[in-house]
Symmetry: C2
Subunit: 144 residues, 2 copies
DNA sequence: AAGAAAGGTTAACTTATCTAACTATTCTAT
DNA sequence: ATAGAATAGTTAGATAAGTTAACCTTTCTT
């Protein structure tokens, strides 16, 4: 069993299961799409423009723009034009109400993940963390 | 930085980049969708029914059924009713021509992955492998 | 001041998916 | 034996996810 095969067995599956869980909480309970949730996560992390989010998540700008539209419509995010450079539009989380909903989604999704992670021993958790760091590292290499 | 955050930073990104690469090779060069490629991979691994593939990839049966349709239309896969239990339909890879195309897609996608993996030291590769095994393990836990 | 570059949106289209409902076949338990 | 449950798969109808191409604005470059 090669490393490549391990990759195929683990990474896509991990994402599909996670996405299904996000759909379960974010979508059913809060009316957000998985896309919107992913964008929200990034805005919360300070990635605050459509272009930056698109680059970070390997998606097209229009796809991110559409997700932002939905978030703005739901009152969770606000667009603010940068007065220094009027091409930029900063995205920010808005109302306390919106933040509360967001926290609830986080809690539920992260609890689902945490529940799985705690089945591992502390040593295994460290090994997983190391593995994920390496996974992130090799995926940051740009196309030649 | 918690393990959960590491997960969010690595797994979705890894999948999105990989999917973009599949699209680049499988889609542009061979007229296959990413979905069809994923189904093909599983058939090649001996997962040979719509239900089994759907379970393995956490997708609905209709979604898999639709992908199989496309593969059958392209002459890459054949449906064969099981005579012992006529509810089952076995999926098999067909013609040498189809197999050749499949091998080409594999080679290109795996080469892309391999190129990234070889930037890691042998020790790091082992650490990544351990991490991916743990990732797979925690994702196999069924919902309560 | 012209042209390139960057940020964002719109439009049109394709792919990816889901749930619900249906057909056909087989299993189960009386 | 047979009614009802369960399993495998497909169809139908919907929505979500995501692309490329083209366009507007604003800023940078020279």
């Amino acid at each position: 069993m090669t490393l490549i095969e391990k990759f195929w067995e683990s990474v896509p599956t991990a994402w599909f299961r996670t996405r299904a869980r996000i759909r379960h909480t974010a979508a059913e309970q809060f009316g957000l799409t998985v896309e919107q949730f992913q964008v929200l996560r990034r805005i919360r992390h300070g990635i605050d423009s459509v272009s930056a989010i698109a680059a970070d998540k390997n998606a097209s700008r229009p796809a991110v723009s559409a997700a932002v539209d939905g978030l703005v419509t739901r009152g969770l995010v606000a667009r603010q034009t940068d007065e220094q450079d009027r091409r930029h539009i900063h995205l920010t989380l808005t109302t306390p109400a919106g933040q509360t909903a967001l926290s609830a989604i986080y809690e539920q999704t992260d609890a689902w993940l945490a529940q799985r992670l705690t089945t591992l021993t502390p040593v295994e958790q460290e090994q997983l963390q190391t593995g994920l760091e390496l996974l992130k590292k090799i995926m940051e290499i740009s196309e030649q």
